[in-house]
Subunit: 300 residues, 4 copies
């Protein structure tokens, strides 16, 4: 069993940390707003007042924070855990961040004898609570091996993308990019149908029972057909963050991705029209508006 | 049991006709090149020398031909079956054609007391042979009801899209459009991965086992990862035909579909580069070339 | 001096015909609505009641009609002038039509010993009235030579694009395509400026006095800056016709033109939002709306 | 007459500095590679060994450096001139940099009682040598008034874009964006023509003598028609820098600019294909390659 620090107890991090605890590891947790830690503390976790204190020398720290800046802060900033983790320590970085940052942090840790493994996830909070996340990881082999039991506690499948610490991040942001393409393509198809008098939901039903009978389509397609409701599983602002990560990664690699630009423009326009706090499914509304349709009252 | 004429015995039509025969109907078949009918004749079908002779007054004619022009020819042209089908007859139109043509033919039949049902399909030849096609249909209710047992003989599921005879065609070309978007989006993601040293097939494996664990992705994704081989399941020229149908339908409906334009341009470029007879998966090669990669020898 | 028939007396055709008359030629005119011919008749033209009667055997017929269909009708349709023009006749086709139609008509004329020259123009009605059009032409050399004096009467410059009768049409639709790109690019730039608090007209003033000090920008840029008024010099519907000609010509030639697709989508969206009868400058309003700006009252 | 420091003696900065000197001002120059200053020193300029020494308290410093980073370095970095310029000093920033940096530097100067005016330019080295640049500027009124005589010495026209120090930069990068759109649109049109057997240069000649008879088109269009030669007036890498500035500015302002994305992708692809050091006109080669044409030997 490991001594594990867990930093970042958001809607994903909290249930993930619970799984680590349940697997029998010693758990120290830190979150900017401490009340998120209550349940975990009741279950036996120790709550600390800084990222730094979440680390034990040579132990493991898992980070599940909002973005690149937050990850840099909790690792390298004042009160960060990086130096304290020290020789033999393992930083398991599970949030969606840029491959560049993963590579920089891996190099930073290497200079200190600590290790960095990127291990971002697919799945929403209920999947995290059930330990059913899909996890991709990359980094040095020995470090990955040490991380494996923890990842198995949180996910139903772990996929290895080699030694480059940025690789797992690229696969993750590629996956999010593919999801955004699903939204846009469905929105285009349903809108063509709608303006021909065809029921959007009927189209959705057929596609998700036949050629696209998979979790992602079955979750997204009915929402694209109905228009986004009030529930926000993944906000437009997060969508913008992710498509920017993809566009920057593609640009650096010298790859034009025109679908990426289309999706980017949808999201920028959605935010410009006041939908930044809506679920990113709402980019489908722009497709409707471009076609001269009034977006539905409940969703605009 | 019905007296059924079947026109168009290509790689899809032949096994579909066999299912009709097996279901106990009387089958008369016509194909431009008669030798495609051999097996069916052995199984009891009657081969005739013109589209016209495939029809019996008040019977059913199923058409599974290459495109709009071929459908117009066998129906309305010299030697066409339309007039002979006559009052009470049913034209079951199962190829991928434009909604416009379906609407025009439906009106033409209505003037003569015959009926038109559009019933295009999803699925490739093996699915046709197994009677496992997915079928969408639209047209007048009574005509659809009469068509249903035949469709059940050919498919594992039938989806009703109402009275507009063009509706089923729109759903079908929307489905093909969605597939083309899958190819493009995967090609963009894999190429970003490849230029970062990540194995395309490893990315494909993960996506098709997790968020995209559905038939379409599991069939297409490995091909986009590997590059198209010599097998041509759906040619680039057919891909162009279909994306044009989608763009024209969208334009008429007043719907901008930027993903459609991107895919269209990939296909136009692929054909301009001499890949018109390749499988449409080969549009992924253009993504690679745009990124400065040499397309693989085996596939270019 | 020639015996000239002139078919199509719209806002361009009428002043062009007047220039032919003023140059001393015998002029016979035909227009669907005859009252457009009044001024020309006063100046000495003869008005006839069909396209056919506008032709004299071996003479010249100039056509300046709305689109491909109208050109086919007045040439080949019932009451068309084609057969009557006969051996040695010259059809000078000055409207914006497809290269395909020019090629077909040229072949049709060739079979009858008559000739076809495509000679579309740049310029608006005031330029036509001043004999200041820019004209591009293509076709057989002898026929072009015969057409030259007439073109000189209507234009300030004539540009030769060789023997292919479709070539001049391609240059013309390319020019219109370039103009549409000017509208879109200026709209994007001005909107970025506007949302940063910069006056659109101030940007326009600078560009049109410096790097873009040419007629087209000086005419279009202030309109893109101000938003289109009530004047309609070139309607959105005509814009759609022209960008479709360009996209079809490009597709046939195997050339992806992504700018063409962007402009096409702007126009489709503008029409879908009820702006089909506005000047095509109004495609700039979509750029503004995509950026969350309310289009100006006066123009929406 | 002013005491003027000039930092950045590249192909633009050197002739601009010469104009300042010729106008009678005292000139102190700094460049990373000092030999660029030889001619200026012969004409009476004083050469110094650091950016800092180019400034005199309360004087004027003109910067004409490569990019944002270089501007930050010479102003704020170790050996930078910012602190030395001091109260009453004027920083005249003439390079193409981001509006964000202009705003930050203006605020930084304001805290110290110095002033910042952004004054980027249109024009190439010969125009700089002739004092014929076009200059846009923005910043506080009094500071602009002081800058005016210097700008008049370097340019043939000065355009005022108000108080926001970032405004002039936005107009400048918008202008470069418009130029890139000219390249792309011409390349698309010429390639459609070429594949129809029309001479690219003939198309170019017509357009630049008629609707696009303005300096920018007359300079760029023949190059797009011919393909880029060996001369590099503006490299692809600089093109990428500028289109990124435009895309970032647009994104921050909430404006989708699809033309910007198309141009961006052309440039990324050109660099990926090994053309990063070519003139940015070479983005036209990608248009040709997409159409299945071999890029010309001399230019690929």
């Amino acid at each position: 069993m490991e001594a594990v620090g867990f930093i970042g107890l958001g809607s994903m991090g909290e249930p993930m940390a619970a799984k680590v605890l349940k697997a029998g590891h010693t758990l120290t947790v830190y979150n900017r707003t401490a009340d998120k830690a209550r349940d975990l503390v009741e279950q036996g976790a120790k709550l600390v007042q800084s990222a730094e204190l979440a680390a034990t020398a040579g132990g493991i720290v898992i980070t599940m924070v909002a973005n690149d800046r937050a990850l840099e802060d909790v690792t390298l900033g004042p009160g960060g855990f990086g130096e304290r983790l020290g020789r033999g320590g393992l930083h398991l970085s599970m949030a969606t961040v840029s491959p560049d940052l993963s590579r920089r942090l891996a190099a930073w840790h290497a200079e200190r004898g600590s290790h960095y493994v990127a291990a971002p996830v697919f799945g929403r909070p209920p999947a995290a609570a059930a330990g059913k996340l899909w996890i991709m990881y990359s980094g040095a082999s020995a470090a990955k091996q040490r991380a494996k039991p923890l990842l198995n506690a949180m996910g139903q499948g772990v996929f290895d993308f080699g030694e480059d610490p940025g690789a797992a991040n690229i696969v993750k942001i590629s996956g999010n990019f593919l999801m955004s393409c699903v939204i846009e393509s469905l929105a285009e198809a349903f809108t063509v149908g709608e303006k021909n008098g065809i029921d959007r939901q009927a189209m959705s039903d057929m596609f998700t029972q036949t050629i696209f009978a998979c979790p992602l389509y079955q979750s997204y397609s009915p929402l694209v057909a109905a228009g986004p409701g009030d529930k926000v599983a993944f906000s437009m602002h997060l969508g913008l963050k992710d498509v920017k990560l993809m566009l920057e990664t593609a640009e650096q690699a010298g790859v034009p991705i025109p679908f990426g630009s289309v999706v980017h423009d949808r999201i920028v326009s959605a935010i410009a029209r006041g939908r930044g706090d809506k679920d990113w499914i709402a980019m489908s509304l722009n497709v409707s508006e471009d076609a001269g349709l009034e977006p539905k009252k409940s969703s605009a």
